[in-house]
Amino acid sequence: MSSNLLLPEESSSQTLRRRLLAVAGTVILVATYLTLIITQPMGIVEGLGQGVALGTFAAYLVAAILLLLAVLPDLPVSTLTLIPVALALNIILGQFVGSVMVPLYLDSIGTVIVGFLAGRRAGAATGVLSTLVWSLFAPTVLPFAAGAALVGFLAGTAARFGALRRVYLAPVAGLVAGVLVGVVSSPVATFVYGGTSGVGTGAVVAAFRSMGDSLLSAVTKQALISDPGDKAVVFLIAALLVYALPKRLSGSFAFVRRYRVLGKHVSK
């Protein structure tokens, strides 16, 4: 009777399956990325590369979904209730701050907060889910799910290795994350859509192309201009918001306690 009220230990076959899913997802992502970089199909000019477009879209999306399925069953319920809040914050805070004439997206503040508080797996899951939900309103974001997962993953990694203990380290971590995400997502913009979705970014890409760059390097350079700055600001804002939380709330996350994510500058 008493065993009825107490929880059993987890079975190891479950963890194996999840590990396989995570590996499969990562392999697909890396393989697609490398293939695109190495072969650099110039289909855009000679016939529009529809096959490449569909292949890239499918590969990036499938990879993101496999990573999501690998991570999801592990997440505790307190993280599961946090994720919808993070997704809503992504949209609301992004809109609010973006309403000023600042050329930043700032649409991943929620994802980064989850990465800081609940770890890199939760952060990655939040990134993918954010994209999936957002795709109901803007279908074009779907293949960027992998990049969004990467943001959350890197946020969790940064927090784990102490980048959050001093607030000024957060934007530095964001800068690095922005570089990585920009590089990973550029092939999507190039080969699936043949360019970018904003007029400002389009102008930058056009400028690089006029100087002789191929489309992929032009898009990558444009990404390296805007993404690191954007992510640095996002990481900084997310860090400030996490420090504004009462200790009772931030301390209730096992990840925060285990890796001593937050420094001494926390409220009592």
């Binding site: 000019v45 399925l69 006029s210 032009a218």
Partner: protein, 252 residues
């Protein structure tokens, strides 16, 4: 949408995916335009025409402009230029490429948005819950969709309350930062505390379900729809392969 027959959400999604992948693979302008016309027809029939037009327009205009800048202005192929100013070089081919890419994105956006407008959220969540995917996915989708308007309302209330404090009138970067802090921090604090409070009760109600789980709500389905779904998925995967292979053969 009283006039549209009750389609299972997955049927709508499967058909959408098949249409988008095959239209993209074929890349024939009149086919894509026909698909768009069909979408607008369906949206008109179900009463969403204006919304579809406005949403897709808002999303596609910057895209088209960007593509025109990238491909229309800086064409580097050998065809004769229509106009040239320094590094800028406008060619027919370049404009064609820009328009074709834009059309490809348009098909994705319009079909996708139409799906979003036609599918009932509650039915979609129930369909996901009843499928073999982990129960967390249905929960997360539903929670986000229903939480968004609540949080937007809360944000509005916070804005009101902060107006009463008569602060946030500073100028310059510091004043802007103050205003952002005033609006963002209470929202984050409140919603995250709320999320934590909810978690334990959700666990107490047995979520996430460890074993089999059911739903009270029924999602109408039929074997014909299942057949359509399977056909659509097969077309979505094999269709582009076949089309591209044929195109390559035809090109040779």
């Amino acid at each position: 949408m009283p006039r549209l027959p009750r389609l299972h959400p997955f049927t709508t999604l499967a058909l959408a995916v098949a249409v988008v992948t095959m239209a993209t693979a074929a890349s024939i302008w009149w086919l894509s335009c026909a698909v768009l016309a069909l979408c607008f027809l369906v949206s008109g029939w179900s009463g969403h025409l204006k919304k579809l037009a406005m949403l897709s327009g808002a999303m596609l205009l910057p895209t088209f402009l960007s593509l025109l800048l990238i491909h229309g202005l800086i064409a580097r192929d050998a065809s004769p230029a229509i106009a040239e100013w320094g590094p800028l070089r406008v060619t027919n081919h370049g404009l064609e490429v820009a328009l074709a890419l834009g059309l490809r994105t348009t098909v994705l956006v319009v079909v996708g948005l139409l799906c979003g407008l036609l599918i009932d959220k509650h039915q979609l969540v129930a369909a996901i819950d009843l499928s073999p995917v982990p129960p967390q996915i249905g929960y997360l989708l539903a929670a986000t969709l229903f939480l968004l308007p609540q949080m937007a309302e809360k944000q509005r209330q916070i804005g009101e309350a902060q107006t009463l404090r008569r602060m946030g009138t500073g100028s310059g970067l510091a004043g802007w930062f103050q205003r952002v802090r005033l609006r963002a921090v209470p929202l984050v604090l409140g919603s995250m505390q709320d999320a934590q409070d909810r978690a334990v009760h959700l666990s107490a109600r047995g979520f996430p379900a460890a074993g089999a789980h059911t739903r009270l709500r029924t999602v109408p389905d039929s074997s014909m729809q299942r057949g359509i779904r399977w056909t659509a998925v097969i077309c979505a995967v094999l269709g582009p392969v076949v089309i591209l292979a044929l195109a390559r053969l035809g090109g040779r």
